[in-house]
């Protein structure tokens, strides 16, 4: 692996983790509301039971057919330690994560919000170091608090990204 290439990539990745001002898709898991950069969102679908993958952890529900591509579906509620129910309004957000495509199951999707740079604050310092590192910022929007999420960090291990 060449050093300049790697160095460049590290710098670029560090830059990417800073949430940029712009449009975010807001969605809920449990009582918390999260936001993800709209550029990463491919589409939103209703939940259908995926094909189960043996030996996968509980939060990996399986794989589905997305117009010919085999896409894994991860239940974010289980991943974040919440309860997971599957109703007619359960929703799957199809995202691009670490150069792959994956679907994540959430409780609901609210709307798209436009965040100005001054609305985004760095994430709160969490006392225990194993805290959620995937939250890269916090935004205030009209009384709501959105936790801005970096899916690459959250799902890399699950998806087997080296």
């Amino acid at each position: 692996m060449d050093m300049t290439g790697e160095g460049g990539r590290i710098a670029r990745d560090a830059a990417n983790r800073q949430p940029r001002p712009g449009e975010y898709l807001a969605w809920r898991v449990g009582s918390e509301e999260y936001g993800i950069d709209i550029r990463k969102v491919q589409e939103i679908r209703s939940y259908e039971a995926p094909t189960r993958i043996p030996s996968a952890p509980a939060h990996v529900k399986g794989v589905v057919n997305l117009r010919g591509a085999i896409v894994p579906v991860v239940d974010l509620r289980l991943k974040l330690g919440r309860e997971a129910g599957y109703t007619a309004s359960t929703v799957v957000i199809v995202l691009s994560v670490a150069r792959r495509v994956a679907g994540v199951v959430v409780d609901s999707v609210s709307d798209v919000v436009d965040l100005a740079a001054d609305a985004i604050r760095p994430p709160p310092e969490v006392a225990d170091a194993t805290g959620p590192r995937f939250i890269t910022g916090v935004a205030s929007v009209g009384g709501r608090m959105l936790l801005l999420a970096d899916m690459d960090t959250l799902l890399s291990d699950t998806l087997g990204v080296s």
Binding site: I53, P54, V63, I70, L159
Partner: protein
């Protein structure tokens, strides 16, 4: 625009790619022919063909002004011409020098394509000249363009040819022309057309001047460095570059068709026999892959149609049945044709070895004969690229550790030269590639000792097969010394890992004093496969049809248990096969109803087992998609496919299932 300027604008760079590709092929053929040449009884056809390869590369190199390549090929051609006219006999040393020249040409070609420091050719030019008996010590043949000169007229104006560059641009040319026009005494400078064989980034001028050479160079140095300028007398009488033997014949009024019959009738029969050279076209791999993807989509769509037709009422279905079955047949034919595009014969891989083995054998002082069997066996291009490195390692191993030195072989009552056999054949849905040598075989005792020394558990009761498998363990090298040829013990475990990653398997077999055989098995096509779908609870799984031996419903009590219920077996003809429940292997939920199970006998790597499932669903072609594109490798699963109803079904990795079934080893005789 004058004729000469038009010539200067003739851009040759558009032909570079064709030349690069063609020259690369010629160099490959050149090497193969030389390796196949019997120095003691050389075939005339071979000598002529080798000459033509060098000649062809020379022609192109000279045209594009690649003078280093042109000079080298010219020297090779001179020697080869003498050989083909029987003015000299070929020798092993000549072949060695020619092979080295071929390598250097490849390197020069690479530099032209990609840039980089080109290798020096002086040594080779001298060596080639030395081989030409009549020319001991004569300098390398002069490069292609030689201008005839007119002696300078002292005191009067001279006509000079001035070459500027590389590099030189049109801007520099205009600047120089203006400069000479303005400076009195400079002379008249005008642009001239490129000479044949001139490098494309040089500019040629004609200068008529009374100034001396150094004054001219001084003047030019305002716009171009002195060492980029060459002056010589303007060729007065251009060396004749064409001649007509007799007055041009009057163009025949009638058409020059060979056949007496009207042209319309003739072309059909003539079209039949054509040279292979005219019959191929180059296609980019991306285009082929796109075609294969589309083919895959077509197969899925066709399956969906068939499935939905099955759900229609009888009348509508009947109307569609004929059309759908035609569609299925055409799709299958189309699919076979498309997959065949990517299939390449194994000879492409095998052809790399003669040269490598020649060098290797001579370096080790061993004598070697290479036999190849089944070179016409075809394999997908993607697999060919990935199998070459592992195969190379296996071949090197055989030569390095397997084949003995000639003296040892004679002492053992064998022929002085060892034989290495590379073979390829189709078997079931796989291709089987074998590397076999008649060397000294594996030393069981030494392997066990090394394994123990490395901390592994290696009881003396291990079967030979199990001992050979130890060779694949990382860090185990049984070579007496680490040679630079095969490297350390990291070799074999990487080989095995690479082959497994391709969905294949590798086995070793050996007999002391007799030789060793390595057998590699690879799936034939990656993309479309015949599958049998089976059901467990509500889930559907697909088994590759090629790995299925048979399926049946066992009679009551046919399945026996062993070892207190831990393992189950079933008797199939004269064998007891281990029974593995797919439900357990896939952690699937228990069945809704107690239905009698079905057994599917599958086979992998010469072992069989019976897979227990709830039901057999059907047989169909499936498009294999891999999980790793968006997810990770799942053990026991080799891929996924989209069924007719749009749902994903996992394709089972039969060899992995067979390997992991513990029961397989406990079968009573």
């Amino acid at each position: 625009m004058t004729a000469t300027t038009a010539a200067a604008d003739h851009d040759l760079t558009q032909f570079y790619q064709v030349f690069f590709d063609e020259a690369a092929e010629n160099l490959d053929t050149f090497e193969q022919l030389l390796l196949g040449l019997d120095v003691d009884a050389p075939s005339d056809d071979t000598l002529h063909a080798v000459f033509r390869c060098a000649h062809s590369v020379k022609g192109g190199a000279a045209t594009f002004g690649f003078s280093d390549m042109a000079d080298l090929t010219h020297a090779m051609e001179t020697l080869l011409d003498r050989l083909r006219r029987h003015e000299q006999k070929p020798s092993t040393q000549m072949v060695d020098t020619l092979l080295q020249a071929g390598d250097t040409l490849r390197a020069l070609l690479h530099c032209r394509r990609e840039g980089g420091e080109p290798p020096a050719t002086d040594g080779l030019l001298r060596a080639l000249a030395r081989h030409c008996e009549a020319g001991a010590g004569t300098p390398a043949p002069a490069p292609m363009q030689a201008a005839h000169g007119m002696p300078a007229q002292p005191g009067g104006a001279r006509d000079l040819e001035m070459l500027v560059g590389p590099p030189a641009t049109a801007a520099i040319a205009d600047d120089l022309i203006e400069l000479f026009a303005e400076v009195s005494g400079g002379g008249r400078l005008e642009r001239a057309g490129n000479a044949p064989g001139q490098a494309g980034d040089c500019v040629r001028f004609r200068l008529n001047t009374t100034a001396s050479d150094s004054e001219v160079l001084d003047l030019c140095s305002f716009h171009a460095p002195r060492d980029a300028i060459r002056l010589q007398p303007w060729p007065a009488a251009r060396a004749a570059d064409f001649e007509l033997f007799e007055p041009p014949p009057v163009l025949p009024a009638a058409a020059s068709a060979l056949s007496g019959t009207p042209p319309a009738a003739a072309p059909a029969p003539a079209a039949a026999p054509r040279t292979a050279a005219a019959e191929t076209i180059r296609v980019s791999v991306d285009k082929v892959d796109q075609l294969i993807n589309l083919m895959g989509e077509l197969v899925i769509t066709q399956a969906m149609l068939a499935q939905r037709a099955g759900q229609l009422g009888t009348g509508a279905r009947e109307q569609l049945v004929g059309g759908l079955s035609d569609l299925e047949r055409t799709t299958r034919d189309l699919q076979e044709s498309v997959m065949a595009i990517r299939m390449i014969p194994m000879s492409d891989v095998f052809n790399r070895f003669p040269r490598m083995l020649r060098d290797l054998a001579s370096r080790l002082g061993k004598q070697l004969e290479l036999r190849t069997v089944g070179e016409a066996t075809e394999l997908d291009k993607g697999l060919i690229e990935k199998i070459t490195d592992p195969l190379t390692h296996l071949v090197r191993n055989s030569v390095d550790h397997g084949i003995e030195l000639p003296a040892e072989r004679i002492a053992a009552g064998k022929s002085a030269h060892g034989t290495l056999t590379l073979s390829a054949r189709h078997e079931g849905g796989c291709i089987v590639i074998e590397v076999q040598d008649d060397g000294k075989g594996l030393d069981r005792g030494r392997i066990i000792a090394k394994a123990r020394a490395a901390g592994m558990d290696a009881p003396d009761t291990m079967s030979d097969g199990e001992v050979w498998q130890l060779i694949f363990a990382p860090g185990l090298s049984t070579a007496e010394e680490v040679t630079d040829i095969s490297g350390r013990g990291v070799g074999m475990d990487v080989v095995r890992r690479n082959i497994l990653a391709l969905g294949g398997t590798v086995e070793l077999d050996s007999a002391r004093g007799k030789g060793t055989r390595v057998r590699v098995r690879l799936p034939l096509t990656l993309a479309i496969m015949d599958g049998m779908s089976v059901g467990v609870a509500g889930e559907l799984y697909v088994l590759p049809l090629a790995s299925i031996v048979e399926s049946f419903q066992p009679q009551a009590g046919a399945i026996r248990t062993l070892a207190g219920g831990a393992h189950r077996v079933v008797k199939v003809r004269d064998e007891y096969l281990p029974v593995v429940g797919l439900r357990d292997a896939m952690n699937a939920p228990p069945p809704d109803e107690a239905a009698p199970p079905m057994l599917v006998v599958v086979q992998a790597e010469s072992r069989s087992m019976a897979l227990e499932v709830d039901r057999l669903v059907g047989q169909q072609q499936v498009v294999v998609k891999n999980l790793e594109a968006n997810f990770r490798k799942v053990p026991g699963v080799s891929g996924a496919t989209i069924m007719g109803d749009g749902r994903v079904a996992l394709i089972l990795d039969v060899p992995a299932l067979v390997r992991c079934s513990p029961a397989a080893q406990a079968v009573p005789a």
